[in-house]
Subunit: 405 residues, 2 copies
């Protein structure tokens, strides 16, 4: 008997009919001789409605209270899914994040999982229940409700799979798997059968939208093999696991685009030691993730420090930096959205020289201007104008031979 953790995202549980569909899938997995834990998100649209409600009473709602509010979304889904499984004549019991033993730190709206004590999960499984757990949420050691931030339900599923020593973790979503590019943008994108944690990590960090980076990091750290697949069909998905030698035969695994990027520039920063440290410490303390960083020498004695952040964090970054700019004697802080990051990813890059040159030439050949560049061992990212993003993805996809055969 295998222990299977399944995660169903917001669109998979988007209405009562779809919840019944998920119930049938959970039951089929159970009837095939497995124990099943299902981790679920809020029904699609619910989280946005709750955020809208919050904004109607406060333009910058308290993060503690935001967590109390948002946690209701998944709690609604777990109850409905348990009921739907009951209606098929099977046993199921719901658990909130707290009830499932998910303990987090106290960083509201972006909490990190500290540990999981799945005692109750095992008790319910042993009693023959399908166990339905609210993703995205947990509680602090002193019983404050927390949420894990965007993509938190995936993280919950992977962390629970690690904690209960699941044989497999299936991430059900509204896409069939991981594609070589966003199929809505690049017409001949194709599904990738297997991908390494590091490759998916880069794709996720770059906004390929399949999964958030920290879920993949967590899976890598605890070696949780997982499959990204669709809840609307029975097609095999993409298996994500540790890197194998044969994976290096492919130079580029995929092309990712992140359109939720904004650029922040702190201008005329005095050119002396410790300035960059103060800027990025302040931003980090405000829990804003910085992505690409570029520092340009501008006028004599000062430099411009430019970096990109998620558009979600832009307001917080600016609020944090405005007082600091005065304190360090910089010229001011400006923001620019309307930019996007386009990246190519592949472990094969390590053993195939000239990939960066190929990329830049291809973009130049199509008249696309590069604003910022960032690289890692297995990815190369460029920041371009938002209007050029889709075209950049398409021409790179073609250049590196990723299209359907």
């Amino acid at each position: 008997m295998a222990l299977v953790v399944q995660k169903y995202g917001g669109t998979s549980v988007g209405n009562p009919e779809r919840i019944k569909n998920v119930a049938r899938r959970v039951l089929a997995t159970q009837q095939a001789g497995n124990q099943v834990v299902a981790v679920v998100s809020a029904m699609s649209g619910v989280t946005d409605s709750l955020i809208k409600l919050a904004k109607e009473v406060h333009d910058m709602p308290s993060e503690r209270e935001m967590d109390v509010l948002l946690a209701t979304g998944e709690q609604t889904t777990i109850a409905l899914l348990a009921m739907a499984i009951h209606s098929l004549g099977a046993k199921a019991a719901s658990l909130t994040g707290a009830q499932a033993g998910i303990v987090t730190d106290g960083v509201h709206t972006k909490a990190k999982i500290a540990n999981i004590t799945p005692k109750r999960v095992h008790e319910l499984l042993d009693a023959g229940h399908a166990v339905i757990i609210a993703g995205f949420q947990g509680e602090t050691p002193d019983q404050q409700i927390t949420t894990l931030g965007r993509g938190g339900s995936d993280l919950s599923a992977i962390a629970i799979a690690a904690a209960v020593k699941a044989d497999i973790c299936q991430i059900y979503t509204d896409v069939d798997g991981v594609y070589t590019a966003d199929p809505r943008v690049v017409k001949d994108a194709r599904k990738i059968p297997e991908i390494s944690y590091d490759e998916l990590l880069e794709m996720a960090a770059l906004g390929s939208k399949v999964m958030q980076a920290r879920s993949v990091e967590f899976a890598k750290k605890f070696n949780v093999v997982f499959e990204v697949r669709s809840s609307f069909n029975d097609n095999p998905g993409t298996i994500v696991k540790a890197e194998t030698r044969s994976m290096e035969d492919v130079v580029i695994r995929g092309v990712a685009v992140d359109k939720k990027q904004a650029k922040v520039t702190v201008a005329h920063v005095p050119d002396k030691p410790g300035m960059a440290a103060r800027i990025f410490r302040a931003v980090a303390d405000a829990n804003v993730n910085v992505d690409v960083i570029v520092q340009n020498v501008s006028e004599q004695g000062t430099t411009d420090v430019t970096f990109s952040v998620s558009t979600d964090d832009l307001k917080k970054a600016l609020v944090t930096l405005e007082p600091l700019v005065k304190a360090i004697g910089a010229g001011g802080v400006t923001a620019k959205d309307g930019i996007a990051k386009v990246s190519i990813v592949g472990v094969g890059m390590k053993s195939h020289p000239g990939v960066a040159a190929d990329m830049f030439e291809t973009l130049a050949g199509h008249g696309i201007n590069i604003q910022m560049i960032s690289t890692s061992e297995i990815k190369i990212s460029v920041v371009v104008d938002l209007k050029d993003a889709d075209k950049a993805a398409s021409v790179l996809h073609e250049k590196f031979g990723l299209g359907k055969k």
Copy 2:
């Protein structure tokens, strides 16, 4: 400095604008030099929407899961109200029922409060917060989410007021106070300035809709003086407290109508000892509250046992009784809705004879047929056809001189 517990019902927090209004009221109470605990219901309509969702996945949803589902309603409100108070520049923190230390038994959807440990409530109050608590909910000693059933938020407020030793408990609702009759039915109904627990208890039990019986019982038991008043104006409400001598001068305090009644008849029950006990034990074990009971001798050797229940419990009562009917050799079980209970209530009844006769004569004089009768020391109830209910209330209201002077 006084400690004030305020309870705001679903219509008082029915949309963001009304939540802001409640926030202003909480803040005004605080600024007048009080500590404030606000107990809130789900926004009006939310609970019904959740029930509708549940019915779409299961026609008789599990009560455990129903509690998990419904508890999200109040949790949403506490977060929004805390945010709204923040937006006025004041300190507020939300607590779910469980976080507020409300421990209940395990009877899902109708749990009883076992005890309250308001440690966290006091800590937050001492730190200068308005404390916003989710009404209607609690948790069992083993951390199962429970709800307290209809009117549960009132019960939460009164129980919290007792636990924190509040100076006063204000029950804010969509009516101005307790009326001599439903003002929507009886045009000259007027507000009652003071009423005894027992009188309100009878009114509540009889469906006067202001408050559920057990909230009033709880207040009586712990001698919590409370005021029923409107959140939409500043009019004084109705004070509810222990009976005083002067209250007896009024023969009848009010007229109550309960239209959510159904009649169940178990026909041809063998006329031997223990039959009624088996019937009502089975119904009690199913957590169905029985109201008026009448037993008629019908054919030789058998009797008909008739009783009334809330229409909400009718299905459960029938499901429970059908197998029992066979087991005890009764003829069958039938149900009838379309009935209503009309009651007159007053502690003065104890010292004024002839009230029952006055009531029955008045109804007969208006051609209203009485199907069942039930009395207590301070109330007389009759079951009549639903179509006669409003007329019965009006003629009794007039007969006992309750109208506006």
